[in-house]
Symmetry: C2
Subunit: 304 residues, 2 copies
Amino acid sequence: MEKNFIERLMEDVSQKSSRVLVGLDPVIESMPESFVRPILREKGNNNEGCAEAIWIFNKKLIEGLADIAVAFKPQIAFYEAYGIAGMQAYSRTLKAIREHGILAIGDIKRGDIGSTAEAYATGHLGHGSEFEADAVTVNPYLGIDSIRPFLKYVDQNGKGLFVLAKTSNSSSSEFQDLDTIDQKCSTNIKLYQRVSAKISEWGKNSISGNYSSVGAVVGATHPSTLSELRKMYPHIPFLIPGYGAQGATAKDIIHGFDSNGHGAIVNSSRGIIFAGGKDTSNFVSDARIAAIKMRDEIENALKG
Amino acid sequence: MEKNFIERLMEDVSQKSSRVLVGLDPVIESMPESFVRPILREKGNNNEGCAEAIWIFNKKLIEGLADIAVAFKPQIAFYEAYGIAGMQAYSRTLKAIREHGILAIGDIKRGDIGSTAEAYATGHLGHGSEFEADAVTVNPYLGIDSIRPFLKYVDQNGKGLFVLAKTSNSSSSEFQDLDTIDQKCSTNIKLYQRVSAKISEWGKNSISGNYSSVGAVVGATHPSTLSELRKMYPHIPFLIPGYGAQGATAKDIIHGFDSNGHGAIVNSSRGIIFAGGKDTSNFVSDARIAAIKMRDEIENALKG
């Protein structure tokens, strides 16, 4: 039988000695002038031209970072912003990642009632669908109804899932950190802790080796939360956003890993793909330098 | 100055004497055989053929229900499920609704960190964007960071927003009903109540007449919640899903309205658009009958 998501991820982490998840969050205004201008001139300064630039930009990054990135994570919002042509670029990007034999995580954060969640799951994890990824991110606010259709693809098709627990943004405290009352014991439990407990439960049927194919999104900007959840839920793999451009460093994220250096992948998007700024003449080589630096910072922090 | 979202909605409710929000949630397998078969035969039994069927299905419903539906709400998941062609059908559906002078609510339930939420807001509320709607639904789990970019379009471009508070599905209780601890007073507050308080705050700058352009999604399946939130937040308009196929009736939703019969719109999707079943030869007329029945049930319940 083919390997499932978490088995592939663990294997790729070992083979590449990398925990770097490269976010493909393209923004035309942040791309190098010398790259983007000729494309827009030829294809038009409109959604079609922008989508073409995004696609070529991503393609070059996927090829250039294939040996360093343990997976790529296109954030679908940055493609939806460019309409139909943008969605075509999203589809082509996912296909290119997977054709390179690299895991593609669709950062879609969907969450809806059962019948609707089924449609989302089909669209984003269904075999041969145009937006098919190896794993996707989802939002827990609607509870298990919104998660179950995705779990079917985890259990039956070897896909992966990352459920938002504690996000990297500053207003994540607004609801996720609320103390909720536990009827069973005297201590109170924060909302993100309760969500994490459910994630552990939702993923208990899909554990291979030490980890489940159902993971949690926990922001790099909350080191103590990473540490706490790592101890409490040894089987939940973490997708850790917030490295680099959002301010977190290697020291912040090491607590998300187990003593073998497993159990998490760390995302950086802007910090890698736009590393060379708008004036660079070689954004791929700049991105490589940034990605290698990040990879080595994490490896060294884990050894230290 | 042009009317903003809530002004248009209130006016349309009065003019049409209708609170019916028709959900355009197309599923090929649920469409009438005699309608869908010829299209798939001609265009292909694939995403392109399905998207063509969806588009024609929606177009006929928009034309046929224009005088009864106070707004239409395409649920984007059912379009994403058909890939790029599906997204094209979504775009064409939104355009057709708006060209008929009817409000289009994009049911997208997006929620992400600031920079990403900005991309979503641009894509779904930006002027002239291919997925432009008059209002969209959003998910509150990430807090104000994820809402702020949408509020900009509410304040500056007259758009509307409906934030999930208490959803219609059964597992909405899992997190939304959790008791959270209030530091200020002795009573505990449920998560959805706290979210509702924030929605009220987020919408306080966009009140026209009695209501804000920032509303809440509150399921018809929770009548006492509707009643409670209506009393507590007189300025929040409600988008009430769960009528019909999900089991709620007119008696369940009247508590979501104020004493003048204002302040809410009620969604039914499958119960209207698939009212005639798979064997009907005229789904538009079946949908009209179902929509008129629903409109009148609500009007009568409000009078009674």
